[in-house]
């Protein structure tokens, strides 16, 4: 049996069956350059292949023209006007984002995360009432990311300025996450600050944004001193 037949048996939608046939990819030719360009632009997005791009573009064609215009305008304005919060480095509409400027939140507790997706994930647990710091990635020399490419200096500055009492690291539990956590902890070793990391209930090597909310909420409650997680010098 050919493998694409096996694949066909597994899928239930007729459209997918058609699209999965290998000859389909090779023969994707367009009657319109406009269509082709739009498909190519969508296919540049992460996780979007040519077949999905085509489906999205065909959907837009079916919609009223104003809707597509609104869609395009929204994207263009977002890209042009988006700012980064001067405190937490999260994306924001204003100089200081609405989390940092919320007086009901505890400024002395800062949760350090890799990116905005992690902020959204933790916010949805409704278990955390401090502020965030968005690093913009994790230390990974293999990917050309060293400490200088991240917002580590801004974090150190902020800790002094805002008299932060506790840092909670909520980084993905993998090697680069650990490197980043240990590196920042070392930079702070002479300062009277409590450093914790969310409990490693999440599988090592897993991705924070895919963890279920219960696991995340529990991890926040059971945060651990870094010193007990790995004996630091």
């Amino acid at each position: 049996m050919q493998l694409h037949l096996l694949l066909q048996q597994r899928s239930n939608s007729a459209a997918v069956i058609l699209i999965l046939h290998p000859s389909y990819f090779r023969s994707m030719s367009f009657s319109s350059t406009l269509l082709e360009q739009a498909v190519n632009e969508f296919a540049k997005l992460p996780g979007i292949g040519k077949k999905t791009a085509l489906r999205l573009v065909l959907h837009l064609i079916k919609q009223p023209a104003e809707e597509t215009q609104f869609f395009a305008d929204t994207l263009a304005r977002m890209r042009k006007e988006i700012k980064f919060c001067t405190k937490c480095c999260n994306v924001s509409d204003t100089e200081v984002c609405n989390i940092c400027s919320n007086i009901a939140r505890k400024k002395q507790i800062v949760c350090v995360v890799e990116n905005i997706r992690d902020v959204i994930a933790i916010e949805s647990t409704q278990q955390f009432n401090g502020l965030y710091h968005v690093l913009g990635g994790v230390i990974s020399p293999l990917d050309g990311i060293g400490p200088d490419q991240l917002t580590i200096e801004a974090l150190l500055h902020r800790i002094k300025e805002d008299e932060v009492e506790e840092l909670i690291f909520a980084l993905n539990p993998n090697i680069q996450g650990d490197t980043t956590l240990f590196y920042i902890s070392k930079k702070l070793k002479d300062q009277p600050i409590k450093i914790t990391t969310i409990a490693r209930g999440i599988a090592f090597g897993g991705e924070l944004e895919y963890a279920d909310e219960l696991t995340l909420a529990r991890s926040l409650q059971n945060r651990q001193p870094v010193a007990s997680y790995v004996s630091m010098k």
């Binding site: 694409h4 096996l6 490197t179």
Partner: protein, 361 residues
């Protein structure tokens, strides 16, 4: 007992669609050179290790002109049926499942279906470079200890990060000792675990090798396998400190368990230089059978044994000793290949061991 009942291959190497059923503990696969005997053994290896014994890329194993392959095996273990399947999708994505559930990480599969392969080119293990011997050691220990495999994967990732870091330091003409300290601590945690396991493993393993060597060779010869590692002299922490300047200069990590080796000797002389062809082969079989034996002791059941082109390798007497042990005393399922069905049949008739013969072609 771990037993593979049947094997289905779809678009795997020279097989477009083929089913094999295995009936007894000993199966011999015979046929002319190039007919696909080794490919069957490699498919079994795939089921146990999620990869080929011979090729590192999955794509090389797809039947020419096709896209994707599928290997399915029906195992039984202590009466329980455990189907395993390996699917390479057209997109190049590999899926491994056991008993109907997909693995999130392939490493979780390793060790559940232990297996030992002996193939003609394996004598490289004795005369070739050190990475083959490390990989041999890692294959044994990973099957015995899932944490070892996790630590090994971590170690290799940290090592890559550390080497990239050293390169980037040279490029930008900067140094960051604070970051190197952190990478070293991470390397030390994983590396020390690996060292301890390797070091604890070797003495017992050496004894097994010695025993097998004398039973295959028919006489006792003082062979020895020892573990060579800088970590036996001092801690990885010290080693990394000592080599830090050198590492910055050479832009790579010059010390650590990735430089370990196994040393083979006979009469306290290096085996590589003094041993004859026959002695090398005896040592190779001894190493592999010792691997099978320690796996059996640890798991409580025997691993699958895959012996490729066995008759090409040893003289008749050594061969007889070996087959007798493997097929009647070892207690596991054994797969053998040979070009001559008659030779196989006669050998097993002489030993009075029942044999399933699969003649290809």
């Amino acid at each position: 007992m771990l037993f593979l009942q049947s094997l289905q291959l779809v678009q795997f190497k020279n097989y477009s669609h083929q089913t094999f059923r295995f009936e007894g503990p000993v199966t011999a696969i015979t046929g002319a050179n190039g007919i696909g005997k080794t490919n069957v053994l490699d498919a079994i290896h795939y089921l146990c290790f999620t990869k080929s014994y011979f090729q590192s890329g999955d794509g090389m194993n797809v039947q020419h002109g096709m896209q994707g392959f599928r290997i399915e095996g029906q195992f039984t273990l202590a009466g329980e049926a455990l189907p395993v399947s390996i699917v390479l999708r057209e997109t190049g994505k590999k899926e491994v499942s056991c008993n109907g559930s997909l693995y999130e990480k392939f490493s979780h599969h390793i060790g559940r279906f232990p297996c030992v392969m002996i193939a003609p080119d394996d004598v490289e293990l004795i005369i070739g470079g050190s990475e083959m011997r490390r990989s041999f050691l890692d294959t044994v220990l990973s099957q015995m200890d899932a944490v070892y495999l996790q630590q090994l994967i971590s170690y290799n990732k940290i090592l890559q990060q550390r080497n990239s870091f050293l390169k980037s330091c040279a490029q930008t003409q900067t140094r960051n000792n604070a970051l190197l300290d952190v990478l070293d601590e991470q390397l030390i945690a994983a590396g020390t675990y690996i060292f301890t396991k390797r070091n604890d493993f070797l003495p017992g393993f050496n004894e097994q090798v010695l025993q097998f060597y004398s039973s295959i060779a028919g006489k006792a010869e003082p062979v020895a396998v020892t573990y060579e590692s800088k970590l036996r002299e001092t801690s990885l922490e010290n080693l990394l400190q000592q080599c830090r300047e050198k590492d910055y200069q050479l832009q790579r990590s010059t010390t650590g368990v990735h430089r370990d080796d196994l040393y083979f000797s006979m009469n306290d002389e290096p085996f590589k230089q003094t041993a004859s062809q026959g002695q090398r082969k005896s040592l190779l079989f001894s190493l592999k059978l010792a691997e099978a034996e320690v796996l059996k002791q640890q798991k409580g059941f025997a691993p699958l044994l895959l012996l490729d082109d066995v008759f090409e390798k040893l003289d008749q007497e050594r061969m007889h000793n070996l087959l007798n042990y493997v097929c009647s005393q070892f207690g596991g399922q054994v797969f053998l290949t040979d070009t001559h069905p008659e030779r196989m049949k006669n050998a097993f008739a002489d030993m009075q061991i029942p044999l399933q013969l699969i003649e290809l072609g």
